[in-house]
């Protein structure tokens, strides 16, 4: 399988600390790839490098074989490297309708349209409403994001990313902080992501990781410890030692 997103010997050093240590990671087309690792392993650093929030000290990032490591965040997003955030990064004063409308019109290159009223394109609106329906946001489309229940905000967090039609979607702990009774909604949505979107899931919740991923990479101290199928990773003694411990005993 060809890789959609690939990193080659990615290194990131901050003030003498190596946060990413020679990371070579391949995300295959259509993959359901999970990245796990203990706190401070460098998962967020890696996401920031992939999306252009920070620049690597050395190494490169390829999207479909093309080097994107010099591109800015918004240019990578335009090319289809899209992320969600572990801590909600939403537009608090906008409504879900406006938020998704904005993301869709930006993706379609209509973001500089300054004379047309928002929502006056029928095909665009149909796509916007379809996304809102898919993410169970239809009942709150006209409410300010800031006042939405946390679970809805989490759904919107993923919906915004999907509205960008990602080729590679980086999901940063999508279920973080969601109360137990609202979790199933997030899990269902994550499970139903379109097949043509390659997903890299960063997650602490092992149930979610093992139900979702067909491939798992383990990151420890900024370096890749191992990579394999869920069975291989679950059976790996080193992984058990450094990270999973007893959590995996019953898997």
């Amino acid at each position: 399988m060809p890789a959609v997103l690939e990193t080659i010997s990615l290194v990131k050093q901050y003030n003498g600390i190596t946060a990413a240590d020679d990371v070579s990671l391949k995300i295959e087309k259509g993959a359901r790839h999970a990245l796990i690792g203990p706190n401070g392993a460098g998962k967020t650093t890696l996401i920031n490098l992939l999306t252009g929030v920070s620049r690597p000290t050395s190494g490169s990032i390829l999207l479909d074989g093309e080097d994107i490591s010099k591109l800015s965040t918004h240019k990578r997003a335009k090319r289809g490297v899209v992320r969600t955030f572990q801590i909600n990064q939403l537009f608090n004063d906008l409504t879900p309708l406006e938020t998704i409308g904005l993301a869709v019109s930006e993706r379609r290159g209509q973001g500089l349209d300054w004379w047309r009223i928002v929502g006056s394109r029928r095909d665009l609106m149909s796509e916007v409403v379809e996304i809102l329906e898919r993410f169970h946001l239809t009942d709150v489309i006209d409410r300010r994001t800031a006042v939405l229940p946390y679970g809805k905000q989490r759904l919107l967090e993923i919906a915004v990313a999907i509205a960008c039609r990602p080729r590679v979607l980086l999901l940063d702990e999508p279920a973080a902080g969601v109360p137990e009774d609202e979790r199933h909604e997030i899990l269902a949505v994550v499970g139903a992501l379109p097949n043509d979107v390659s997903v890299l899931l960063i997650e602490h919740d092992m149930d979610l990781v093992f139900s979702f991923a067909d491939r798992i990479s383990v990151l420890v101290n900024g370096a890749l410890l191992t990579e394999g199928t869920p069975e291989e990773v679950a059976g790996d003694a080193r992984v058990k030692a450094v990270y999973l411990g007893e959590e995996l005993a019953d898997v």
Partner: protein
């Protein structure tokens, strides 16, 4: 999956309603235009309110919609004022309306160049940078007295009739109609812009630049664009001052002007376009009324109002008005009738 047509219709309708003209807005503009005929003896102060409102609208575009705070917006106002005055004095462009556009473009050019200075940094940095730009321009105007007239101001400017027909008069009759027409046109454009996808993207940049860039928006490019447009608006406001008074002086660049502007926008409220206009009306009439009472001390009252607004908050002041609104609703006979009917039913 195809969404239900009804849901699409509801969503479209909701967005359309947001952009539709509210009856109160229509009443506002109707009153402004009616004042051309109904308040002829107030045209001088109304003229000032019109260009000041436009100037405040310009600040609202960057502060209320893009979150850029400025203490030097007079830089663009001043460039517009001097451009218009110089064009008229040297008879380069005799048609005021055309000179107005050219002045706007001159201010836009300055806005574009200086926009790169406000892209990075905190509010404090932006305050200092914008303040600095205005100070530099003022000193440049002072230094190059052969062009600007220096500290004496630019004398001997005479403005030709608008469209070759309407001569500026000392009572401000032409001035008010002219300023109001310009204000209205630019307001309609601004209103269109803030309700467009581009306007929405500005709000998103203001609200969360990190996420905005994560969905493919070039934050810098959007800020440069709106800063440049706002500078053009400020320049046109300055040109209106120069044309209606046939004069430009160093005072157009002054710090006081930029500071008053921020005050006006805060009094009126940022982020809904009318704040600048309402602020300008309140500010000018307060200035007019209070300076008649206490010529020396009127800024005291303006200061007091500002402190109250900032400390108490507009929302809470609106809620103080709630009982008045309630009484007003009670006075509405239809509501009254409904209540009577309801109470008789209860009985």
């Amino acid at each position: 999956m195809i969404p239900s047509p009804a849901a699409v219709h509801t969503a479209t309708e909701w967005l359309a309603t947001r952009a539709r003209w509210h009856p109160l807005e229509m009443a506002f503009w109707l009153a402004a235009f009616a004042a051309i005929y109904l308040l002829p003896d107030r045209h001088l102060i109304l003229t000032e309110i019109a260009w000041l409102g436009l100037f405040a609208l310009s600040l609202d575009l960057i502060l209320g919609y893009a979150g850029i705070i400025s203490l030097g917006h007079a830089a663009f106002f001043g460039v517009g004022a001097y451009t218009a005055a110089l064009l008229a004095k040297h008879e380069i462009i005799n048609e005021p309306a055309v000179a107005l556009l050219v002045s706007g473009f001159a201010a836009m050019a300055l806005g574009f160049v200086t926009s790169f200075l406000v892209l990075r940094g905190s509010d404090l940095t932006r305050l200092m940078v914008t303040l600095g730009v205005a100070l530099v321009l003022r000193e440049l105007a002072n230094r190059y007295g052969w062009l600007t007239g220096g500290a004496d101001g630019l004398q001997g400017v005479s403005i030709k009739p608008v469209l070759g027909m309407f001569r500026f008069d000392m009572f401000g009759h032409t001035g008010y109609a002219y300023c109001l027409a310009v204000l209205f046109i630019l307001f309609v454009i601004a209103r269109r812009v803030v309700n467009s996808p581009f306007g929405l993207s500005l709000l998103s940049v203001k609200s969360n630049p990190l996420r905005a860039s994560a969905i493919g928006i070039s934050v810098d490019a959007r800020l440069i664009a709106i800063y440049t447009v706002a500078a053009g608006y400020a320049g046109i406001a300055g040109a209106l001052l120069a044309q209606t008074t046939a004069f430009a002086s160093l005072e157009v660049f002054s710090f006081d002007r930029s500071a008053d502007l921020l005050l006006i926008l805060i009094i009126g409220g940022a982020g809904y376009l009318y704040g600048g206009l309402i602020g300008a009306i309140i500010f000018k009439f307060m200035q007019d009324y209070l300076s008649a009472l206490t010529p020396q001390y009127w800024p005291f009252w303006i200061g007091l109002v500002l402190v109250v607004i900032v400390l108490v908050g507009r929302d809470r002041m609106m809620s103080w008005a709630a009982p008045i609104r309630l009484i007003a609703e009670r006075l509405n006979w239809r509501a009254l009738a409904r209540q009577i009917i309801a109470s008789t039913k209860k009985v």
